[in-house]
Subunit: 215 residues, 4 copies
């Protein structure tokens, strides 16, 4: 039985809601044949977010950790490939900090790759009719910060797989944007994360299927 | 009791499904306090589409006609403002025709405005959390062709209101596109058209609320 | 000898410069074998813009009128197909007015088509290596207002051809935008308008070449 | 006197021209007060591109290496922050190879950061009126392959600074695209690379200015 830790952030950047938290909290306690899900909210604050993540990992000793975050403006589920060791905030975090060009972990390596089966997840999502792609950048804000900190924490625990998935705005968020903006229904986002969990738990290694970009 | 005619197209451009038809057929027979919906499919063929529309209007004598079409790539519900008297097909219709720069109705006026309460519909959709905006162009393909032909048929029947609404791809269509492409769930598109119908039936005149573009 | 009147707007929407005016003023006095260009600036003000346009037409008695406007965010030269009889301002004009859903000309027809050879212009621009396309909407702000008012003024003067061309931001404008935004060099925009003038003066009728949109 | 090696690729993906090569070859031999530029073309072929780059470095012993590549669809000059250790080709390279999920350098670290002053370059470009931004991903095709291989080669030569800059399509390339696509004039791209070279040669360290993304 795999314990799967899902995390989602509190709302940020003036949004009243965060689709990542809405999605993962709907899956808290979800049991499959070979896994059980525990969901936790993270603050959208540099440093504090990682502290909360580390505490949850210590407490729950999960087999899989999938951090989920909002990518307002993207139209599909994007499974992140790589976290990089830099905080460079284009907006303030929820404590007002705008960190520029500081490492997430001083002395840490430049990057970590996701250890989720990212190609298999994208493949399974598309098969299920949910738009999805591999993303080559998780940005440089709190999402990447958590993704990098997660992979750094797991660096010498190869039995625990981890990674990050970005999801679009909810329709009600897009409805308040000044220009037409893509969104996805909560039901499809919940289904997408379920598929990501199930695919991870049932997959060893990954598919070898193109998922890159020319730039 | 208002009779509301909804039309949706058959699939076109290699798509196996058309969200417009899926949406309107789900509403066939829907009765509200003051309306009943009848839904009809139109062929995605210049000329034939209008013939089918005219036959349905003659048969049903509706009070409101809302034609619905797929706008692959748009992210929100777009309520069309104006139909123009030109067919200029960027792709072949379902009979293989690629008409270029022919009038929809020879001798007809350059354009017709929708007689739906387009601002009230957009307002109601956003209030309901569904992304929506006014669109200043319905293109120059079969959608605009039907929109123009509809408004031309209604030109001396002011008691019958008519217009056109474009809707995005379904998620399963977007999942097969080579690049990330916006979509909307079928449930939200059905809810959107219900709101458009109800708003039209309950509104005389229209809201005066900005809905234009600088270009 | 054709007299060609080119118009460009003063800056608007907090921009310090308007590429349309920069472009057309560079062509003031330009003579070809069969034409001479006169360029005039228009205020970005509903009503006043048309008054200035009409005065210029009365004074200069041009054979061709091409109004040029800035379409910030578009990436190519867009030759407009149709003007519609509505002012619906998403931003304030330069006198602070935000007109919503008023006709440009009370009692005027819904729309007017450009009488420039729009397909021949787009074809010639692409042949010259300048990105260009036909646009099905000039928006509902002062650009469309001038385009509609121009075509209304020319409605019973078929010997005078007129139309509207939108051009992108200049690079220095795009460099100040908060997100990556397309632009075009002033040299290419000047060359583009020269080609539009020359093509108009040398073309009777228009090419029949697809230039429409599915939506 | 700094020797600056600029590289640009041969055309790829059915394009008849590559703006990167057109740009850097225009600067071959350009001398400033404190630098001289040498430009070399690289094949758009996995492996061979790096072999050619390494040979040029061995031969020229440059102080600065800036590899330049085409990013068709981007609208501005994008100064890349990070190279990652993966080849995942969405299209075939010029020898027909479509490598999927192979490391650029087996056993190499996940990523390398650019050692160019990326923030200072973006700042200088915008000051000069050229649209520019920091990019968090150079993709996973031959551009990233060369960027990663370059930084790996320089990993124990801190005196040699290196990095990668992506540039848009030329206007004549965008003019042949089926949909409106951003571009930049060759003159502006040449000016941009000159500014990047001069900024690098005159800057120690980097500016600390926000240049990140939320995702």
């Amino acid at each position: 039985m795999n314990t799967v830790l899902l995390t989602g952030f509190e709302p940020f950047n003036q949004q009243p809601i965060n689709p990542a938290w809405e999605t993962v909290r709907a899956l808290d306690g979800w049991r499959g044949d070979d896994h059980v899900v525990v969901s936790r909210q993270l603050p959208c604050v540099f440093g504090d977010a990682l502290a909360a993540l580390h505490a949850a990992i210590d407490e729950l000793r999960p087999d899989v950790v999938i951090a989920v975050g909002q990518a307002g403006g993207r139209s599909d589920i994007t499974v992140e490939r790589v976290a990089i060791n830099v905080d460079d905030a284009p907006i303030a975090d929820n404590r007002g900090a705008r960190i520029v060009d500081e490492p997430v972990i001083p002395g840490g390596p430049v990057g970590y790759f996701s250890t989720l089966p990212i190609k298999a997840i994208v493949h399974a999502l598309r098969e299920a009719g949910i738009p999805a792609s591999v993303s080559q950048t998780a940005g440089t804000f709190v999402c990447n910060h958590v993704f990098y900190g997660l992979m750094h924490a797991l660096r010498d625990k190869p039995a625990i797989r981890g990674g990050f998935i970005h999801i679009p705005f909810l329709p009600q968020q897009a409805a308040r944007q000044p220009v037409p903006t893509p969104s996805m229904s909560l039901a499809d986002m919940i289904e997408a994360v379920k598929i990501a969990v199930a695919t991870t738990c049932s997959t060893t290694g990954d598919l070898r299927e193109a998922g890159g970009g020319t730039h």
